[in-house]
Every structure is written in structure tokens, then in C-alpha cells.
């Protein structure tokens, strides 16, 4: 399979604090890759440099063979990368349907828009039931569903998901992750960052372990499952 996304020796700093160090990462077309790691490892920053919310201080990022590391976020979005941010960041005063419509901002074709809307409502029937409800009044799980639905509406070639399990009860987490698997089966390439290593390893085909801005290890679930290093990275010893 062709590489959709490739990061080459990417570095990013906040002031003097190093957030990302020499990140090399390839995501193949159609894959579901997961980046795990404890709080502060640099997971969100990684997604932010890909989607252009931060410009990396060094290194190259290529998407479909084109360099995007110096491109503005809105242009990167147009190229086909959708970023579902940490803590959802919905339009809380708009209703569910309007939030979903906003996600399709880059999509000009009306039929494509409607087809995507049907898909996300099928994926999350709950959202269809609540489509006239204000987003701010949804439960945490429903808000997460809406954030994912909104990102999908752009019909992305690459979906970036930041910490979709955050603050959710185990049962709801499971629902969200079932949906993530379905999105993958529909053919959307996905890069997921997630603190919950167990959940992420269940869905991810390739797992990357991030520690203090560096990729410490990678492999499949089977390869990493018995790895004491993961526990060390999370718990310090």
C-alpha cells in the first residue's frame, strides 16, 4: 500500500521545552495507526503539527507526496486531513445538525454532502435522534460522537482523532471505539492518539509508543502486548 502520510525527523518546541523529537512516522493508505503514551508525551502536538495548527520547527511532513509542513491549516484541511480535536471543541450553541453541516464546509458537492450525512447518522443513530438539540446540552459521549461525525463530514482521506475516550465511562468508550473500527472498515485512513493503551491497542493495526516527544517503540498489538516498556513509560519505573 502507498504511504498517505509521512513524517521525517519532525521536531517541535514550545519555547525551550521540546515537545517532539525526531519523529519518523508513516501511515499507509487504509491503515488505522494508534499513538499511545502518557500525559504530556506529545500526542496532541503530533496531531497539531500534521493538521497545521502548529508549524513544526524542523523536519518534513508529506501528505500524498506533497509537503504540507509549511502549509496553513485551512489548506491542509482542503487537501483532505480532518482533525477531531481533544475535548471535542464543538460549536456548543449550534444544534447537532448544524455542527455536522459545518464539518462539510470544504465539500462543495451537495450529493456527496448528503451521502456523508447519511453515513454519520447511520454510524451514530443517537445523533440523528438528537439532530435538533443544542450541542452543549449533549452528554459527553454524544459530544464525542458529534465531534467525530463533524470531522468525517469533510470526507477526509486522513482522519486525526485526539483522545476520543477522554472523560468517558467504559461502556461509552467501547461504543466510540466500535465506531472507529467501522470508520476504518469503510476505508478512511485514521491516525488515533490515545492515552488508554488497552483500547488503542485493540483497534490499532500499528501501535506507536510515544514518550517525552520521542517514538520509543512500535509494532502490532501482539508484538507490544507483553512489552514491559509500555508500563515503564506510563508509570516511570
Amino acid at each position: 500500500m502507498q504511504d498517505l502520510l509521512e513524517l521525517k525527523k519532525v521536531y517541535h518546541y514550545y519555547g525551550r521545552a521540546r515537545a517532539l523529537e525526531e519523529i519518523n512516522l508513516k501511515v499507509e493508505e487504509g491503515a488505522l495507526d494508534a499513538v499511545i503514551g502518557p500525559n504530556g508525551a506529545g500526542k496532541s502536538t503530533l496531531l497539531r503539527v500534521i493538521s497545521g495548527l502548529e508549524e513544526p520547527d524542523r523536519g518534513k511532513i508529506e501528505f500524498l507526496g506533497e509537503r504540507i509542513d509549511d502549509m496553513k491549516a485551512h489548506k491542509i484541511a482542503k487537501r483532505g486531513i480532518a482533525h477531531c480535536p481533544e475535548r471535542r471543541r464543538l460549536f456548543y450553541d449550534l444544534n447537532v445538525e448544524d455542527n455536522i453541516q459545518m464539518g462539510a464546509y470544504t465539500l462543495k458537492n451537495k450529493n456527496a454532502k448528503n451521502a456523508m450525512k447519511d453515513f454519520v447518522y447511520e454510524l451514530f443513530p443517537r445523533l440523528k435522534e438528537r439532530r435538533k438539540q443544542r450541542a452543549g446540552t449533549l452528554s459527553g459521549g454524544e459530544q464525542q460522537m458529534l465531534a467525530i461525525a463533524r470531522a468525517l463530514m469533510a470526507k477526509p482521506k486522513l482522519l486525526l482523532l485526539d483522545e476520543p475516550s477522554l472523560g468517558l465511562a467504559p461502556k461509552i468508550k467501547k461504543k466510540i471505539f466500535d465506531a472507529i473500527e467501522k470508520i476504518k472498515q469503510e476505508g478512511t485512513t485514521t491516525l488515533l492518539v490515545e492515552q488508554d493503551a488497552v483500547l488503542a491497542m485493540d483497534v490499532g493495526e500499528n501501535i506507536h509508543l510515544l514518550e517525552e516527544g520521542k517514538i520509543e517503540m512500535r509494532g502490532t498489538k501482539e508484538e507490544l502486548e507483553k512489552e514491559p516498556r509500555i508500563k515503564q513509560v506510563y508509570l516511570g519505573i
Binding site: 502518557p38 500525559n39 488497552v198 516511570g236
Partner: protein, 246 residues
């Protein structure tokens, strides 16, 4: 060794959320203890309750045998507890020396500054946190690691017996972390009882001999770093439900 801090059945509710739930522990004088837990576990709230920033919903806190539950922060500082915050704040346009001098003028700080002079005292603190060569400059121009040292210096200026350090390593580069680690070790060797939080664990778990873990406001385990890191509930809290890899 006597008990310096006794926390009993401490509970703090914010509306419907119980941030700290029936939490109890003791710290002996001279100890070096870490408080860990994943994001949102309630660590900072525990510090806010001990230092008087928030009032507990129920439960008690005794310092050196004195009930300090719900006292104002300045009274607690005057009894001998100082703390630092996760986000560094300083008097941006005062010199570093003046920044420290402010806390040297607190009640307990004065006990020392009266004897040796405020400037002398502040200057000795700047030396011990490694900032004495920057005494005349204001904090606005300092890197993050120096600001963290300054913050610890300000806490020491109040001449505390118990020092609470909230996330002293967050946002620091590797070199800066080493500097802060050395500083904390030195303070402990000087006799200050230290209680510190951390959600990034590498430094903390290798620094302290004793760790208390909490999750969702509740006590999980109190033990050596190894015991805590191998506890099933701790593993699941950090890595996710059903975490088997150990």
C-alpha cells in the same frame, strides 16, 4: 519521628463532582512522599485543601497536631506549610532578589531575616536554588526552568517545615528537570518534609521512596514506587481497563 501531616476522611465536592473522596493518609516529619494519579485524579485539589486555597466539604487536616482544616492560606503558611503551583507565577517586573524578599517578609521568614537581614536571607535562597547570578534581573526574561526554581525559592522564603510541590517537572526540558531534581533533593537533605505531585512519572518515581496513588478522588495504594507501579488498580487507571501488560 512525629507525624507532621495527618489527613483524615478528606472530601471535596464541586457541585455534583466529588474531586476528593474520603481520602486519608499521614506523613512523618522529614519524609519525602509523592502523590500520583492520572489526569483529573484530584491531586491538585488535595494540595489546594491542605494549603487552604479550597475548603474541604468534610474531613480534617492536622499539621503538627494543630487542626488547620479550612484555615486561610496565609495562616497555614505562617504555621509552616508552603506550596508551589503547577503554573508558575511571579512578580514579573521585580528583580529575582525582590521576588524572594517578599516571602522572606512573611511571619516565619522574618524569624530568619530579622537575624541576618532580608537581603542576606533572600540572597542565600537565590544561591541555594542556583539563581544568585541573576539576582538583579526580572523574571520576565527567564526560561521556564529558572522560573520553576524561583517559585521554589519563594516557597522556601517562608521558611516552611512542609513543602508541597505541585508538578515541579511539568513543561521542563531534560536538563532543567535534572536541575530541579537536585534542588529538591538538597531541600529534603536540609530537613524540609516534601510532598509532591506528578502526572509525568519518570522523575518522581525514581526520586521518592514512598508514593501515594489516587484515582477519581479516591485513595488506591500507599507504598514503595515498585509496589505502586505494580498495583492492578494503578495500572488500569493509567493504561486503561484490562491492562494486562506488566
Amino acid at each position: 519521628m512525629g507525624i507532621i501531616l495527618e489527613v483524615k476522611n478528606l472530601t471535596k465536592k464541586f457541585g455534583g463532582l466529588t474531586a476528593v473522596n474520603d481520602f486519608s493518609f499521614e506523613i512523618k516529619r522529614g519524609e519525602f512522599v509523592g502523590l500520583i494519579g492520572p489526569n483529573g485524579a484530584g491531586k491538585t485539589t488535595v494540595f489546594n485543601l491542605i494549603s487552604g486555597r479550597d475548603k474541604p466539604s468534610s474531613g480534617s487536616i492536622r499539621f503538627d497536631g494543630v487542626n488547620i482544616t479550612g484555615l486561610k492560606p496565609y495562616k497555614i503558611v505562617n504555621l509552616g506549610i508552603a506550596r508551589t503551583f503547577q503554573l508558575v507565577r511571579s512578580f514579573k517586573f521585580l528583580s529575582l532578589l525582590d521576588n524572594i524578599s517578599v516571602s522572606c517578609l512573611s511571619k516565619r521568614g522574618k524569624a530568619v531575616s530579622k537575624k541576618i537581614g532580608t537581603e542576606e536571607y533572600a540572597s542565600s535562597i537565590l544561591t541555594s536554588v542556583g539563581l544568585v547570578d541573576k539576582a538583579t534581573i526580572p523574571p520576565v526574561v527567564l526560561p521556564h526552568g529558572d522560573l520553576r526554581k524561583l517559585q521554589i525559592g519563594k516557597a522556601i522564603g517562608t521558611n516552611p517545615e512542609l513543602l508541597l510541590l505541585d508538578e515541579p517537572f511539568s513543561g521542563l526540558s531534560h536538563e532543567e528537570k535534572v536541575g530541579i531534581t537536585d534542588l529538591i533533593k538538597k531541600l529534603h537533605a536540609d530537613g524540609v518534609t516534601i510532598f509532591m505531585t506528578g502526572h509525568v512519572l519518570r522523575e518522581l518515581m525514581t526520586l521518592v521512596p514512598r508514593v501515594i496513588a489516587m484515582h477519581q478522588g479516591k485513595f488506591i495504594i500507599d507504598g514503595s514506587p515498585e509496589e505502586v507501579a505494580n498495583n492492578k488498580i494503578v495500572l488500569e487507571a493509567y493504561l486503561g481497563r484490562g491492562a494486562g501488560f506488566a
